[in-house]
Amino acid sequence: MIPEIGHYALVLALALAVIQIVVPAWGVRTHDAVLIGVAEATAPAQFLFVALAFAALTACYVASDFSVLNVFENSHSAKPLLYKITGVWGNHEGSMLLWVLILAFFGALVSVFGRNLPRSLKALVLSVQASIAAAFYLFILITSNPFTRLIPAPFEGRDLNPVLQDLGLAIHPPLLYLGYVGFSISFSFAIAALIEGRTDAAWARWVRPWTLAAWCALTLGIAMGSYWAYYELGWGGWWFWDPVENASLMPWLAGTALLHSAVVMERREALKVWTILLAILTFSLSLLGTFLVRSGVLTSVHAFATDPTRGVFILAILAFFIGGALCLYAWRAPVLKQGGVFAPISREGALILNNLFLTAACATVFVGTLYPLALEAVSGAKISVGAPFFELTFGPLLVPLLFAMPFGPLLAWKRGDIAGVAQRLLVAFGVGLLAIAATVAGEGGGPILAPFGVGLAVFIMAGALTDIAERTALLRTTLKASLSRAGGLPRSAWGTALAHFAVGVTLLGMVGETQWGAEAIANMKPGETISLRHYDFTYEGIDAGEGPNYRELAAKFAIKRNGATIATARPAKRVFQARQATTTEAALITRGVNQIYISLGDVQPDGAIAVRIYHKPLVLLIWLGAVLMMLGGTLSLSDRRLRIGAPKPSRSRLSPQPAE
């Protein structure tokens, strides 16, 4: 009964979504307040029905109801409860259900919390949101139904892919989807603005927090995904420029740009048309990411061709929403009123620079990800675009952006003084140079790029601190006065500084890991010792263990530094019976922000075991930085005040005016 309730709930959600597309839009067109109000009730109802469907599927997983095909294919009765639950979205069908659940959740939020939105705007937003939802409900019900039944019910399930049986699956996809789908709100707002032919003052006020919330979730989601891949896949890498990763990076880059241009729009009523375009692009890239990951086009164009239903369906959704939105944009954007003016050198100008670099960087990732696919589709040739391409294109674009970043927050709105800002950043710049010198001295002939990377990272961090120091007039007045100013500083200012500081932290981690990482690969017999950096690793032996649904072979290592044992590591290999699959459980030993990473290879016939040991300096900073970025965003989000960019008064108005 339970799977069928879930199935029907999803159908009802689709029916409500269809009503929610038509009725509010009709109401706006005819100025009928009653029809406009319908969306406010259907959006939460839709969410409740999708939540019911999701709960039903979860219940089937928990109860190991193998009469549901999806449960049979991805679960096992002996699996721990946590992985039974996370298994719900550890597969194509279930993850799409999670996708629409979050979509409906955001729709319900707009409906419930959007009380002070102009009602016609709200109705249009909900109508657009419902059209996205309806497309995906249909997609799920027709091509990827998680409630398909299986008769007779098999005795035991096939188990979840062992790589996914990890805490990472509990955190990473929901966060990532919160980010992806969160951008649908800015998209819906953009389409509504285009349909109405104008952007209200309330528009920007609403879009910024939604974008920021989605951005925070996406940032954390990407970081968690990266950390998950780092410790679970056993290769010791944290970013592979894999198309699936790029699919999440592209919306993040566009979303970061959108976030900044939305700030300009809210504070200064400028960049309206550009912000709308970015909102469309960001969500389009989210959809593209969903298409890339979900259609199977990445595994191989052949696999895509053998079962094209899903791919073609998502492609149609993609074409409709992206194509439709861009056409609407081309048609209606000229109607929009242009807002505030500003000088090229100003906070607005700096944010445009930021936008240009971010979109260009996003474009390089786009090309690097899609070109191989396009080439394969057209000519059949298979090429792979990897790290070298991205290092040559993406890297150079990011360096000037990162260098310019500390300047932005220090510039005044409307008209800025670049020389003055540079002067104020002199200290930060000096600190950066010092860091370069110190690195060169300490390193004594290591990688050439490392000192510059460290210098840039330190400059960014010092720049963010300079921003706060300037705002609190630190060193210019008494410490007490500065502290009281710091207390009065809006949380959004702290958030900006923290997020910008965090970029420096992440950069430092990336530089440390890529430039100074060391690795050793060896076949070791029990009792043997190898050294890496200042550490000695002694292989002590292997023992077998058993988990709920796997058998495990764990090796024991004693790690010594200067003769004193500092830790024991226990990397393992697990064999999952149901899928006859093996996973590598790397052992991570954290020393401050550095990590030692031990991963096992195969056991040789002579009893030796292949071992890979990495020393990864500063590696934790990569994810710590991302978490700080997210915290910065959250801090700014918690600041519910209105954002008004006080322009710097022009000279003529500053000079005393003669009395009239």
Binding site: H7, A15, L16, A33, A201, S300, T306
Partner: protein, 371 residues
């Protein structure tokens, strides 16, 4: 019955979600949108004032900001009476009501009946095992027997009990091991050899491998009447493309079958399958046949074709194109282990020709087979 009741309640809830806002009086029309703008600008002016008092803004900056916002406020206020409150129209409301009351339930139920399976009850594992008090008795039992066999690996009865359970649980490799153990301890009989062959076929996803075939042959040698072995040998012939042989084997099997044999229909179906006329090209016909099959059968058929190609290549080398075809096929089937294995064989077979080797390596790179 309960299901229908719940579904009906859900439908009512959905209808209610549409009707409820319709029943509310339109206390306020869509606010004149410029009015909303005015409200935002007013808030902004207040905010500037608060910031100025908290000295978060310098007086000059506050003044400039206020001037700007005030300018926008004036523009917005000037544009106020754009849309007036339209009286809610009764016929529009009625149209939506009809949609909610008729189109929504009819559409939802119709769509659901087309794709749903309301007659299939849920089967949570606990319910199937006879109540929650007796959780996972089979898995527990299996574990117990496994423990017992770990200490006494020569207990044939234990292996005999385990083997069919493994088969049902889908642990085919373990089933093969159990069948082998029975053979080792108790000696060969036709039935035991056939059991082993069946487990091997299951472990190979329905492909009658050379190993399985040998097992069936041994079984038949012990007892020429062993029906299962004869059926699987027919299947092997079909998978090898020797359809006449398969037909002959199965026909003979049917002719000697007792009238009440339950496996008769299976053999009849198989017979019908091989009797379908063959077209000219293998691909067009195979594809057509594949369309008739269930997904499982189709899978078995594709895998059979691939396995045939693999066996041929292992035996007599073959050309580079055939090797590429095989590796790619495994790639498409998602079987990276076998793809890697055939990659190794291909490299060995084509070692003499650098040009061909490169083509193989290129494919391996694009399929990301090499580490």
């Amino acid at each position: 019955m309960t299901l229908w009741l719940v579904l009906a309640l859900m439908t009512f809830a959905a209808i209610f979600a549409v009707l409820w806002p319709l029943s509310r009086q339109a206390t306020q029309g869509p606010e004149a949108d410029a009015g909303a703008d005015v409200a935002v600008y007013r808030d902004q002016l207040d905010e500037i004032e608060r910031d100025r008092r908290a000295s978060r803004l310098a007086p000059a900056e506050a003044e400039a900001a206020r001037a700007e916002v005030a300018r926008r406020l004036l523009t917005a206020a000037g544009a106020v009476p754009t849309t007036s409150n339209q009286p809610a129209s009764a016929w529009r409301r009625r149209a939506v009501m009809i949609a909610a009351l008729i189109a929504l339930p009819v559409g939802a139920v119709g769509f659901y009946l087309a794709i749903g399976s309301p007659l299939i009850p849920g089967e949570p594992l606990a319910a199937r095992n006879g109540g929650p008090t007796d959780k996972r008795p089979i898995t527990a039992l299996v574990a117990e027997v496994e423990r017992h066999l770990a200490s006494k690996p020569d207990d044939a009865r234990g292996w005999e009990v385990l083997a069919p359970v493994y088969m049902r649980m889908g642990r085919f490799d373990d089933a093969v091991k159990a069948r082998r153990n029975v053979l080792r301890i108790e000696g060969a009989t036709a039935a035991r050899e056939t059991d082993l062959g069946e487990a091997l076929v299951a472990a190979a996803d329905g492909v009658v491998t050379a190993e399985a075939k040998a097992s069936f042959d041994r079984g038949l040698a012990l007892d020429g009447k062993e029906a299962r072995a004869r059926y699987f040998l027919g299947l092997a012939a079909e998978q090898d493309g020797r359809r006449e042989d398969a037909e002959k084997l199965w026909q003979a099997l049917l002719a000697e079958a007792p009238a009440d044999a339950r496996w008769k229909t299976l053999v009849e179906q198989s017979l019908a399958r091989v009797r379908q006329p063959e077209g000219a090209g293998p691909s067009a016909k195979d594809v057509a046949a594949a369309e008739q099959l269930s997904p499982d059968q189709r899978n078995a058929m594709i895998q059979g074709m691939v396995a045939r190609l693999a066996e041929r290549l292992e035996k007599d080398g073959g050309d580079v194109d055939d090797w590429l075809k095989l590796i790619r096929a495994y790639g498409v089937l998602g079987d990276s282990d076998k793809a890697k294995a055939s990659l190794v064989s291909a490299r060995k077979a084509l070692a003499a020709d650098a040009d061909k080797l490169r083509r193989v390596d290129d494919l391996a790179k694009t399929l990301q087979l090499s580490e």
